[in-house]
Point group: C2
Chain length 412, copies 2
């Protein structure tokens, strides 16, 4: 239970794949590179590998920090590391950036070897199944034939689930957090709003904005704002922001002055006063929640690739392993062989607990070994990335069980 005081160092690596990749859509990627990181040590019988799959805007940088960059913690650094729930003193943990993403693996901003031009919108549609296939090829090259566990939250959970269906013999445990067996109509609807905002931004140029030296930042901002709302619970938004007004700076107040003839704002604008008068403005920030969302949108639009956003939301939409079984999830899960831990969060309305329970039921229908934890956490979908004692406890004990199995030689 001791957490190492010394931060774990992370080193990004890349692996090039020269063989063409056949995609689910029928398209191909002629050759490609995957960015990845590993933490901990692969044991002698290569049985302690844990693959971590990422969601929409994350990457292969799962844990640790980069040399000389104190604030560069990986996106799941609270979960993974020496002495942490997924203990890198016991496990060899692998993070991989998905094909089509924008953090080092081949994606829309790279050159299409067939044309010599940047892919842009011509990058083929990739699916959860395609990602799992590339991850399997990476494991082949790392000499790992079977994973101790595959682990992911949200879209990452879908990949973990898909591993148990595509490569049932290569996964001993699947840990599926805050996920779902497919998207609901409402989920797809939110994705579609985000995509339309991006695609209809005049700076999108049909997905070939790179050549124009612009980025569809307006669309990306809107996409991120919509996304953010769905990551948080109503309750946590009310607690964090409520109806509180943004404390205006002097200059913001000056920019936001009501039209001439209006009553001037009263009561210490410069001091930033949440009980100040309304500014009566439709375009300036009035409430804290607006300021927060704009900030999140601005930040996101500066680093995330618009074509990647389209691809990854589409991978979410398309994932539906029960589809070829007429919607029968139990029938789809018949081919699984792994043991499962599923975790959901009570206030997650994006991937609600009922979606996890569907999966639990379908696994039980197949007499699979499945553990399920429904965590009463206030933070909505975001909870899967946050510290919650019960959540962390569940994860820690499940991975301790996996470690015990390895130690007892059950794995072999």
């Amino acid at each position: 239970m001791t957490v190492n005081a010394q931060p774990m160092m992370a080193t990004p690596q890349t692996m090039h794949f020269a063989a063409a990749l056949q995609l689910q859509s029928g398209s191909q990627v002629r050759d490609y590179t995957l960015a990845y990181e590993t933490y901990g040590t692969l044991n002698a019988d290569r049985s302690n590998a844990v693959l971590v799959c990422h969601a929409l805007n994350a990457s292969h940088h799962v844990a640790g920090i980069y040399e000389g960059q104190d604030k560069s913690e990986g996106w799941w650094d609270n979960m993974i590391g020496p002495g942490k729930p997924v203990d890198t003193d016991h496990f060899f943990v692998i993070g991989v950036n998905n094909l089509g993403s924008c953090f080092g693996s081949t994606g829309p901003m790279h050159t299409n070897p067939d044309t010599g031009l940047v892919y842009g919108a011509d990058f083929p549609v990739v699916t959860v199944e395609d990602w799992v296939n590339t991850q399997a090829l990476l494991l082949d090259r790392l000499g790992i034939s079977q994973l101790a566990a595959v682990l992911g939250g949200s879209l990452g959970g879908m990949q973990a689930l898909s591993w148990t269906l595509q490569y049932p013999d290569r996964v001993r445990h699947a840990v599926v957090v805050a996920s779902a067996p497919n998207l609901t109509a409402e989920n797809i609807a939110f994705n579609e709003v985000a995509r339309r905002a991006i695609v209809t931004d005049p700076d999108f140029h049909g997905g070939h904005f790179y050549q124009h030296g612009v980025v569809p930042q307006r669309g990306l901002r809107i996409a991120r704002m919509v996304g953010h709302i769905t990551y948080l619970s109503d309750d946590v938004m009310n607690e964090k922001f409520g109806r509180r007004l943004r404390a205006p700076t002097l200059s913001a107040a000056r920019d936001s002055l009501p039209p001439e003839g209006a009553r001037p704002p009263q009561g210490g604008l410069a001091a930033g006063d949440a009980t100040r008068d309304y500014l009566y403005t439709t375009q300036d920030v009035e409430f804290q929640i607006e300021s927060y969302l704009r900030y999140q949108g601005d930040k996101f639009s500066e680093y995330f690739d618009a074509n990647t956003y389209l691809l990854i939301t589409r991978a979410l939409d398309y994932f539906d392993p029960a589809r070829t079984y007429g919607g029968d999830l139990s029938a789809a899960f018949a081919r699984t062989a792994a043991k499962f831990l599923l975790v959901s969060f009570t206030t997650d309305w994006r991937f609600s607990p009922s979606r996890s329970r569907e999966m639990v039921q379908a696994l039980l229908n197949n007499q699979r070994d499945v553990s399920y934890a429904e965590i009463d956490a206030p933070h909505g979908h975001d909870a899967f990335l946050l510290d919650d004692a019960r959540y962390m406890g569940v994860m820690r004990s499940y991975f301790a069980r996996i470690h015990d199995e390895l130690a007892a030689g059950v794995a072999a």
Copy 2:
């Protein structure tokens, strides 16, 4: 209970107000026109008037049809008319288009008499309280000193509520449907996404797009798509659309063909087959829900004014009668004198039943006469506009009670 077979005819009217209107923001509107309609007959003692307040995209055309336009039913025609729950054989019903809207009353697309230019984004911010003030002035001109009832759903419910606070002596009954005493942070967040989509559309031109001969349709589409998602329940979306694919027409299928080299779509594209293969596209319509949302967005962007959208969502954000009472709704409601009916719908996550219960409790704390119905309807926020036997029954019996009171002379 008999519904008239003959459709009720509606006639839009306008009334001009030459005196300047002082707004809550401190601004003024120098002179203005309100569009309105009335149905039924004002009785001799002018005691049977019912004012109907509208929400975001509705208007004064509440009920009936226009001469020669069979399909022109008012937006609440199922609720209001001869023999309907709000029975125009008994009541004199008034619908009024709010100031700043875009259906006949003075708004952003009209000329500012002070400048001779179209208002555009210079139209002053209007609040629920301002609207109630203009409605009161309209009633003055119609010779109505007291309303039998004020009635509204959603934002219209906020106006009904505000009537009981601003003009407690002029309202005998307030019927507040699917409403809230203020917006939550999440509500404001969705409004802000919609506003940002509009304001950052290059065709918005800072709100002065009229002079440029363009309309920020991209932004309006996104705004409407976001709005629509929040009007529906997750359940009803799954039932209406689920994950069903859009049945493609031949030309749509041709436009959506996967990139060269991809496996061609199989299985009767032309016939439109919900079990067809995915098209694997990020920009074309794949799912029915996408098609529905795009259609709603397109339609809306062709008739709704962008500046009006900003104004009306802001009026929603700003409404908060408890604000000047330190958030104490009971204290705010102490000045009410009306009797109340509140109605909410179980699957309405935009204005959830808990928000109505807050109001009920605050009214009970003031020993007010309050009835409350929580209708178990699947349709989300939209339920307030739809036919539901229990909802219609509650409304019908409440208005019958009001009519009985009038007949018994209680009103006087």
